[in-house]
Chain length 253, copies 2
């Protein structure tokens, strides 16, 4: 009987800009007697990565331009927040009162281009943005775990995104290291010998969602998750772009 | 340290129409010495549910109508398959050569309205359709586990769907029993006392995706997964409709 374990160590300190998050996660694992092994997947919530890397903006210092005022009027949001959203975006796809769906500069399509007030804790006007390069963040965590424990783990930086057609946001991978984010079943035979010809599974997102189940989003403070027993193909290159569909292949923009 | 376990018992027999799937899953758990407990989540792949319930169609007996021939020409697919897809759909949303995105009669938006050749094994022209009422299927499994083990478990029937914007299909819940499929963080305080006002998590889909990671889709035959340690709110009513966004609230059709 196959088994997958998902551990959620508690006790990561409050993360502030400039802190060494990889070292703190290594320390958290040690204190929790949780020793990463080859083939484990470490999932870390975007918010602590952003904060440690200083990807935070104090709205008090933002001077909104005309486009931000126009977006703010349409969305009924703070013009300063809208300026940050525009700064983080390639395109604004949909706007309704209370809702902005943007294409983030890295290609993710999500609410507010990932700019978020929650779990920041650096002052009431401070928002977090997505990490500059989440694949690089994941690579840094992967290297720290390898150095501390001698283990080759995959790392996913996850966020929670809404999606069309279905209610509820779900965990998705925005940064990936050491793991092929797509698992292809194409060419493998099914139970009865029928060769699958169209099945590619977004396993990085499924792992991100499994972690999200236990990370909580509220007053729990458990952004670090370790998964053991998942099947995946190792990859040396970063991987978030493999999860993003080319716009000209997307039928629902 | 919180922990979630995901078990994948092996040895479910080949499922044929008319078999008593709940009894076979109870037997599988017993043989695997896997005893469901209150609060566990049992996830069962759609394909075995459909087959046991006889939700299969032999294309040899299908007589395509003009709409099916028109769809087949546009999609470059078998007209008989297209007739079954039309029979299973409320609407056809997008068609390209090799691709049909449909709104299934139950509201799911997915490729081919869930009609699928893989892992059927009842003859090369046999396709499986989604269960008639997957919430009822989940309720039946939940009742069988309660009767056999005296345990109140949640049950999810899962399938794998593609999605806009992101590559790779992921597990989603198409039938739910005993679990509130959406977990609302609204009104809960974050780590720093900021009250969340927009966060609803699609936990049934995250659980479905976690199970999908281990079910495999090819020659492994492990459609049954038991998850212990997930946080969810119990619900007595079935729940798939809660996961489906109302069309007039959907900005991406």
């Amino acid at each position: 009987m196959h088994h997958m374990s998902v551990w959620v160590p508690t006790g990561l300190p409050d993360i502030r800009p400039g802190m060494d998050l990889p070292a703190l996660i290594v320390d958290l694992c040690r204190r929790s007697e949780l020793t990463p092994q080859d083939g484990d997947v470490l999932v870390v919530a975007q918010k602590v990565v952003s904060k440690a890397e200083g990807a935070v903006v104090d709205l008090a210092g933002v001077d909104p331009g005309p486009d931000a005022y126009a977006l703010a009027a349409q969305a009924q949001k703070d013009p300063r927040l809208c300026q940050v959203i525009l700064d983080e975006s390639r395109a604004i796809l949909r706007v309704r009162p209370g809702l902005i769906i943007a294409e983030h500069r890295l290609g993710f399509i999500c609410a507010n281009a990932g700019v978020d007030f929650s779990n920041v804790g650096l002052g009431e006007d401070c928002v977090a943005t997505l990490p500059r390069d989440p694949d690089a963040s994941a690579q840094g965590l992967r290297a720290a775990v390898a150095a501390a424990f001698g283990a080759s783990v995959a790392v996913i930086v996850n966020d929670t995104h809404g999606r069309p057609w279905r209610e509820g946001a779900v965990g998705v991978a925005i940064g990936v290291a050491g793991l092929e984010p797509l698992f292809s079943h194409i060419g493998r035979a099914d139970l009865y010998g029928y060769v699958l010809h169209s099945s590619i599974e977004g396993i990085a997102d499924e792992l991100a969602g499994a972690a999200s189940l236990l990370q909580g989003q509220a007053a729990e403070g458990t952004p670090v998750v370790l998964i053991r027993g998942a099947r995946f193909d190792a990859a040396s290159a970063g991987g978030r772009t493999k999860l993003l569909r080319e716009p000209d292949k997307d039928l629902f923009r």
